[in-house]
Every structure is written in C-alpha cells, then in structure tokens.
Symmetry: C2
Subunit: 379 residues, 2 copies
C-alpha cells in the first residue's frame, strides 16, 4: 500500500466496533462519525456554524450537483468548497456516480466512463474516473471517492460481477489520476452487490491498488436491514483494519448502530436533514411526525432528555404550528434537532466503545426502540 494522504489512528475496539481518529488537512474526525450531507454546497436549512455545533466534524458534498451548478471550476476560482460554503472543517466528496445513476437522464456507460444528461438543463456531460478526480480536486475535498458504477438490486451475479470489475478498473484509474498530498485522501469503494465472493474479490483488488480508506458501496438501495448486515458481516473483515471503513448512504439510526457493531467507522445519509424538512423528528425510541394534529397543544419538547437548542426552547405544539403555517423555521429547527440526535448517537457509541460497553449501549438503544413510550409515526 502507498503512503496515506489522510491518516487513521485506532484508539479502541469493542468486539468488531472501532473507536478511531481520522486526520485531514482541515482537522480531525472522531469515528464512528456521521457526515451530514451538504448536497449543493449547503447542509439544507442549516447555517454551517450550527451544523458544527451539533458535533459534526465532517460533511459530505455532492460532486454531481456541484459539477452542474455552480461548476467545480467556479468553486475553485472562488477559493474551493470550504471557503465557498463557509465550512472550514473536513469535507468528503462523493464521485458523482451515485447521482448520475439516480438523477440524470439518458445515461450511456462505457469502459471510458459515463455520458449523461443534466437533470437541470439537459446538457450532455461526460464523467470519467479522471474527470471525477479532477472535479473533487477543484472542490478541494479532503476525502475524494473513486468513481464507481452503481448497480440496482436485485441483480444477477453475472451482471454484478461485470459491474464490479468495471468499477475496480475505474478505481485503479482514479488512483492513477489522484495527486497524493498530506491531509488529502482517496477512498476506494467495495462493490459486488449482495454476493460474498464478489465483495471479497472487490476488496482484494482495492487493497492491491491501495487507498487511504475503504468504503462499502451498493448498499441501502432497497435491500432489507438483515441483508445489509449480512453483507457487512462478510465484507468488513476483508478490509484493512488500519484504514477507515465507510458505509455509504446509510442510514436510519438502527442501521448505523448495527453497522458500527460490524466495524464501520463512517456514515453519510440525507435522512436526518430530509426528514427534518418534512416534519419528522428522531427521538429516543423512534420518531415523531410533527404534522400530526395530536401535537397541536402538546407543550412538551421533542425529547425531554435531548440537550439541543430545539428541545430546550420549543414545544411540539410550536413545531406543529410552524409546519401548518408553512414557516421555514419548521425545517430549520427539525433539521437541527435531527442532526443533533444523530451526532449524539455517534458520540454515545464512541464513548461506549472506549469503555468497552457498546453491547450495553446497543441493548438500551434496542429496548428503547422496541418498548419506548414513543411510537414511530410514519409520515
């Protein structure tokens, strides 16, 4: 393996779970870590200083969105993404691949890369491994992700193999194109869908190429939590233990807890932010749907034990009122609370791992989910 651009220190382990610290040019990230998603150069509905105040030490930026608007070249001209969006802490950028496959129109995949139509103006755009690395470099990303093909589920093993092998060739080209420098890292992405052998082959190929961190891709695409955990059970042990493990696009609180138990160090997901904008609040034992009329006169905070600015200052009745009145503050406050909830969950797990008490932590979490006074309210 090559010298790392980012460095990773393992501080403690508890079973398969790990307590670590990832060091980048813009600061350290304590792991297990949750990365709020800053799609288009903003964590939606949040001031960046408020994102940091929830405990977030790193956010994710979306290459696909930023390459289309305002364009990576423009961000570079304006001083890079950290400065552009006023987020001085570490940033991880995805490769653009996932959104090309989920948002764009008329995709054509070849060995060279993918040609797609912008969902904004229909412009024809090419994204190759080399171009993805170039864009992420323009953005100034601390952690660059390799371009991979995102498969759907279900998929045959044959198709999954073909796709995985293409992604591994793209990963090697990304490594070639990436300019290593201190504090800036490149992560590979294990693919292979729900097939054990493919996952192992993929991991082996990535390790041969050598990356600063290893992500598990191709999950959270509709499979059950059991299947996701099974894939992690056989995939994570095949990753280098001295490098960070990142589970992309995950997930609900219970997904994250289970993945930490299986040796995952990093997560990103739009759930806390998107849910906040649609009226859902995560609380111990489940979630609340603040659109529900039952909250109309409820003077209680979202979660009496939560220490966030929302729970210490506002009632469920007020949040319900804001939603009914169509006020932006509803999304702002619920996003803030949800991000605080996620960061408190990660902080709780980090402490539990350090003291060898993760099983207790998880038992409490599970019993709250199963028996908690709060029933999950779907939206």
């Amino acid at each position: 393996m090559t010298a790392t651009g980012t460095s990773f220190e393992l501080i403690a382990t508890d079973g398969e779970a790990r307590r670590g610290r990832l060091t980048t040019a813009h600061g350290d990230i304590n792991t297990p870590a949750f990365m709020p998603v800053g799609t288009a150069g903003t964590v939606k509905a949040m001031m960046p200083e408020d994102v940091a105040a929830t405990g977030a030490e790193i956010i994710l930026g979306n290459t696909y969105h930023l390459m289309l608007r305002p364009t990576a070249e423009r961000v570079a001209k304006l001083g890079g993404l950290h400065r552009f969006m006023n987020w001085p802490k570490p940033i991880l950028t995805d490769s653009g691949g996932y959104q090309v496959f989920s948002l764009s129109k008329r995709r054509t995949i070849s060995e060279e890369g993918v040609i797609f139509q912008s969902h904004i103006d229909g412009a024809k755009i090419e994204l190759t491994p080399e171009r993805s690395i170039e864009i992420q470099n323009f953005l100034g990303s601390n952690i660059t992700m390799v371009l991979d093909e995102c498969t759907e589920w279900p998929i045959t093993e044959k198709d999954a193999r073909k796709s995985m092998e293409l992604s591994m060739r793209w990963a090697a080209r990304c490594k070639e194109a990436f300019e290593a420098r201190p504090g800036y890292g490149l992560f590979g992405i294990v693919q292979g869908s729900m097939y054990r052998e493919l996952r192992h082959e993929s991991a082996a190929k990535l390790i041969e190429t050598g990356f600063d961190g290893y992500a598990v891709g191709g999950l959270a695409i509709g499979e059950s939590q059991d299947v996701m955990f099974e894939v992690l059970d056989y995939t994570v042990p095949s990753l280098p233990q001295e490098r960070p493990h990142y589970l992309m696009g995950v997930g609900k609180p219970g997904d994250i807890v289970g993945a930490v138990q299986r040796g995952i160090d990093m997560f990103d997901c739009v759930i806390p932010t998107r849910s906040g904008r649609t009226g859902q609040a995560f609380v111990r034992g489940g979630s609340l749907n603040l659109r529900n009329a039952k909250h109309t006169e409820d003077g209680r905070p979202l979660d009496a034990a939560c220490t966030c600015r929302v729970c210490t200052n506002y009632s469920r009745a007020y949040l319900h009122h804001l939603i009914k009145a169509g006020e932006m503050l509803a999304g702002m406050l619920l996003t803030l609370h949800n991000l605080h909830y996620y960061q408190a969950l990660m902080s709780g797990m980090r402490n539990a791992i350090e003291s060898g008490m993760l099983n207790n932590f998880v038992a409490t979490f599970d019993s709250e989910q199963e028996n908690g006074a709060v029933v999950s309210e779907t939206i």
Copy 2:
C-alpha cells in the same frame, strides 16, 4: 393622562429627532428602534437568537395571523407568545385590523367591530376593539395596539373623517378594555389619512383618552414619500413629546431616516425579511438583486463594510448559487444580512442623535444613495 404601563425616557434630541429608551416588562428598547416582523410567531427564516444578535430589542407579532392559527387561547395555554416562539425580549402586537382589511375576505364593518372570513379556512370571525385587546392580552404582548379601521388611499376627506371618528371611538373602547399593569402598555393610533385637520383632531382625541405611546397609522399605503413626510411634518408635533411615536409599517431605509428626522421613535416593516427571501440585499447606497447573473462569479461580500455574519463569511457568488439551487439558506442568509443592515442603520442614527450629528449622518446616507457605487437593482 393615565399612569403608563410602559415608561419612556428621552435621552437626547437633535432637531426633531429623538434618542430614547422604552422600558417594558421584558426589557428596554433603545429608540429610534426597528422592529422585525414575526408574523405567525416567527421572524421568517430566522432563529430568534439570530434576530436578537442583529441588535433587535423588540419584534412585532401579528394578531390576525395568530388569532387564526394557532389561536390566541392556545398560545396563552402554552405560556404566551414570548415562550411559544422563544423570544424573551419585548413584543409589540398589532391589533389585527390591518390584516383583516388586507388579507381576509368579505368584511362587514359596523360600529361594533368587523366581521370577516378567515383567508385560511373561510371561517366567519368577529373582531371588536374588546376582542382585539383580549387576544393581545392572551398573547402576552408588551405593547398592545388599539383596533382601528384602515382606509385606502386615495380617499375623500368626508370618508376619511367618518373612518377616523370610528377609529377614535374604538380606541376609547380599547383603553376601557385594556387592563393596565406595569411593563405592559397600550398605544393609540392617529388616523385621518392625508388630511391635516383630521390628523390633528385624531391626535387630540387620543391624548384625551390617554395612551402609553402614539402611533401614526394609515401611511405606507401607496402614497409617495413626499406625502408621507408631509403628514409626519404636521402630525408628529401634535403628539405628546414624552411618549414614544411609532410609524406603522414603514419602510424602506430612506423612509425610516426621514421619519426619524421628523421625530418618529419606532418602526416595523416586512421589507428586510421579505426582500431577503426574494433575493434582495440592502447595502450602503442601495440594494443588490442576488438573482442577477452578474453575481455568478463575484467573490465579494454583499457589503465590504458590513460586519454581519453573512458579509464576513460569504460571497455574492455563493448567495447567487443558493438562490439558483433553490436552497433555503439563501433566504436565511439574506434575511440575516438585511435585518443587520436595518439594525445598524438604527444604531447609527441613535449614535448620531446622541452626539448631535444626525444631519451629517443623513447627508452621508443621502449621498451614498445618490452617488454610491452600488446601483439599486430592482427585482
């Protein structure tokens, strides 16, 4: 005149302009003061602590909106408006009259009051002087406004007189219904449209009844700035000098500066907040329309001399990007900047009055408006 619920101290004068301090149960307000509008229990797109950080010492709540949703009784049950919306500083509430006349459907005015249909659900609702006072009491308002009839412009003198006389009878009924207590005041509203004699009669009637403060109503309804200033020129001198003077619903920066010169102490207006949500930023010498493509690559702050969190951290290019991407943060940041601009303007005038330099301040303001590098960009 009766004993005051709120107290007002005149600290300095400079020509007709006054530097004062209004004391309420929830704190002091340094005047001249600008009150951001918190329509439905939130200053739109703002965390309340961020509103306070701009320098705002009082906000305005809209009785009409709050009586319809979540209802005044519910706000009272939840601890009053200060607690409901997490704004511990003073609150002034309007009477509901203005929005009844501008937003509701099928109004019927009688001596008793006004019956209207809610713009939300069509419900038939009665608002009388007594009910308006009761609602504002439920909300816990520090400064309660009398219910008045809002006339349109132009209007004949005969119709303006009829309306003014009704408003004066309603004002007396409001005074009767208002329960005086320390730190909570009731303000009368001078009406009479653009007719000098009516304004003087209205002021005299209000003084006879006796209020803690005197507002000038019925302006900012489409008349020119010259006409507005003319009305102030003959109306403000007829108000008690030892009580605060409040110009309702005003206005643009230049309107406020001219009104302060004419002895007005308090202002409220949706312009800084509403403009912020539609992409307009107030800056020295004019305003910027951040929707304009010319800002696409402009790395400069909105106003290089502004000390707000927006100007110290973000470029015009970033704000333009947020607007194009439809991001909530655009409205959040521009509202924050605009409120800071308004509060800095008020603070500048307070300092100028204290040092007898208001004319200099206004000359600089005017020359920036006329010759500034920044041309006003309409939206």
